[in-house]
Each structure stands twice: as structure tokens, then as C-alpha cells.
């Protein structure tokens, strides 16, 4: 039974995690993954499929469509690190929803690029909403390319309830 005197869902461990940077993740952007992403969204612009068309439009190679920030290099022999912001709250919450996505683009991302991302939780809030008890975690991820240039900053909002 829940009541107003219940302790916070946010543990000390979660509070301490705010601002702590993750280990870097390597992500590849290649022609096949750009085409697959563009096709799954429904793009018809040839710049996402045909390298000659992309270069004629002024890109180095197929550009990454908005929302595509590379594919993490998968290693089956490495246990994936616990995702940022997924520490256990003081009471279990079973369900996860994506609350929102905001991406700032600072330079072109094209096939052939190798990106490195680093994430940090920027805030954790708890709220009572129509889904009941909710935990709202905001995470900021910075993507840097092979030349050391920051190409994108993504702010994601995760909701657990």
C-alpha cells in the first residue's frame, strides 16, 4: 500500500550517479546501416542510398539521417555495462517508456565515420502521474567523431513506472 510518507524512489547510489560519465562507446556509421535506417523511416531522397548522389549533394559519403547516430560495435564476449540511469530504485519499477529525445547536430555525420559516445545522467526526478509512481531520468550523450570533433549531443528522457 502506498502512502504519502513513503521514502523516495531515488536511492543515494542514484543521486551519486548524476553527472558521472560512462565508459566511452564506439559506434560505426556505414553505408549499409545508413541505408537500413533511412529505409526503415521511409526516406526516398537518394542521398541516403546512393553514394554518387550524396557526393553530388556535397556530402563525403551517405549522410546519417536525423536520429541515426551510429551503431554500437557489438562484442558478445563483453558483458554490456549497466545502461546509464538504470540503477535500481528503492522500490522495483517494472516498466520503461521513452519520454523524449532531443538531438543537437554540430557537424555532418557520414558513412565511414567512427563515433565515440559518452553519457551522463543529468537529472533524476520522481513524480506521480497517470501511470502511478514514475521515475524520470534525463541523460545527455555526447558524440565525437574520429577527428575529435563533437558532432551531436543527445538528451534523452527515460520514464520508469
Amino acid at each position: 500500500m502506498s502512502d504519502e510518507t513513503q521514502e523516495s524512489l531515488i536511492t543515494d547510489e542514484m543521486r551519486a550517479s548524476i553527472g558521472r560519465e560512462s565508459e566511452p562507446t564506439t559506434l560505426e556509421v556505414d553505408k549499409t546501416s545508413v541505408r537500413m535506417f533511412a529505409r526503415s523511416v521511409g526516406y526516398t531522397d537518394p542521398v541516403y542510398y546512393d553514394e554518387a548522389a550524396a557526393q553530388a549533394a556535397g556530402y563525403r559519403s551517405l549522410p546519417a539521417p536525423p536520429g541515426y547516430l551510429g551503431t554500437p560495435v557489438f562484442n558478445p564476449n563483453r558483458r554490456s555495462a549497466r545502461p546509464q540511469g538504470m540503477l535500481e530504485p528503492s522500490r522495483p519499477l517494472k516498466r520503461v517508456l521513452n519520454g523524449g529525445t532531443d538531438v543537437e547536430y554540430l557537424a555532418d555525420i557520414c558513412a565511414g565515420d567512427i563515433l565515440t559516445s559518452v553519457s551522463a545522467v543529468s537529472s533524476i526526478e520522481e513524480r506521480k502521474g497517470r501511470l502511478g509512481e514514475m521515475l524520470i531520468t534525463t541523460t545527455k550523450t555526447t558524440y565525437t567523431n574520429q577527428d575529435g570533433e563533437v558532432v551531436a549531443i543527445m538528451t534523452g528522457t527515460g520514464i520508469r513506472y
Partner: protein, 138 residues
């Protein structure tokens, strides 16, 4: 050809992008994006978590809004920022109208910029993914 900054005026609507995804597109998106959460393709799993049906990925709606902007700005313009919140669920085989309105036209650091209010709208007219964006135009 994409939009030209000189032709843009505040308050103008950009061309609507119409989407309607079947479950096959959701599976395609799962592979394209790497998001394999089962609520987006496994009906039994979705129901077991209390959802009425499979739901469209929030990030796919974000990508639809990205396409709305790309189709408008073309390859001579650039998308500087695109963001939205996922406020309402969208379901397979239902229309998703992707829309945008120019809220501000300005120059900054030598760039010709436009801010927009963008959103996805369900068949009832509810804005399920309200957001905003900034684009650079030639």
C-alpha cells in the same frame, strides 16, 4: 530543391509528412535503430505490460519529424536541432500526421536560421509527439 530562407515567413506551415506504419515497418525500424524492446512487435508481450496494443517506437516518431524537416530543408540546408516529447501512444496501421510551423526566422553567427514548432498528430487530432527544431537554410 529545399526551402529558401528568403521565402520563409513566421507562422507559415511546412508541408505535412504523412506516415502510417504497419508492423513490418516497426520490425524494420527495430533492426535499423537497434531498439528491440518487445512492446513494439510482440502483441502478447505488449498486453502483458498493460498496453492495449503494440505501440510505435517514440524514436521512430522523432525520426519521422527528422524526415519532415529534411524533406523541407533539402540538402543545402541543415538540421541544427530536433527534439520532441512522447506524450501519447501511436499504434500500427493508424495515420501519423507530421507537421511543423515556423515560429522564428533570424540570423545568428552568419547563419540563416529558422525555429519551428513540430509535432506528430494522431487520427483524433491529438499531438502525440510535440517538439521543436532549428534548421539552417540557404
Amino acid at each position: 530543391m529545399g526551402a529558401s530562407w528568403d521565402d520563409v515567413r513566421e507562422g507559415m506551415e511546412i508541408p505535412t509528412l504523412e506516415k502510417n506504419c504497419n508492423t513490418q515497418q516497426l520490425v524494420h525500424w527495430a533492426a535499423g535503430s537497434g531498439d528491440f524492446y518487445q512492446i513494439h512487435y510482440d502483441h502478447n508481450f505488449a498486453e502483458a505490460t498493460g498496453l492495449p496494443n503494440i505501440i510505435v517506437h517514440g524514436a521512430l516518431k522523432h525520426a519521422f519529424l527528422g524526415q519532415l524537416l529534411h524533406d523541407w530543408v533539402g540538402n543545402e540546408g541543415r538540421i541544427k536541432r530536433v527534439g520532441c516529447s512522447y506524450r501519447g501512444m501511436d499504434f500500427p496501421d493508424e495515420d501519423i500526421h507530421c507537421k511543423g510551423v515556423v515560429t522564428r526566422k533570424y540570423e545568428e553567427n552568419g547563419e540563416k536560421l529558422v525555429d519551428l514548432e513540430i509535432w506528430t498528430e494522431n487520427p483524433e487530432g491529438t499531438r502525440t509527439s510535440p517538439g521543436s527544431a532549428t534548421v539552417q537554410l540557404p
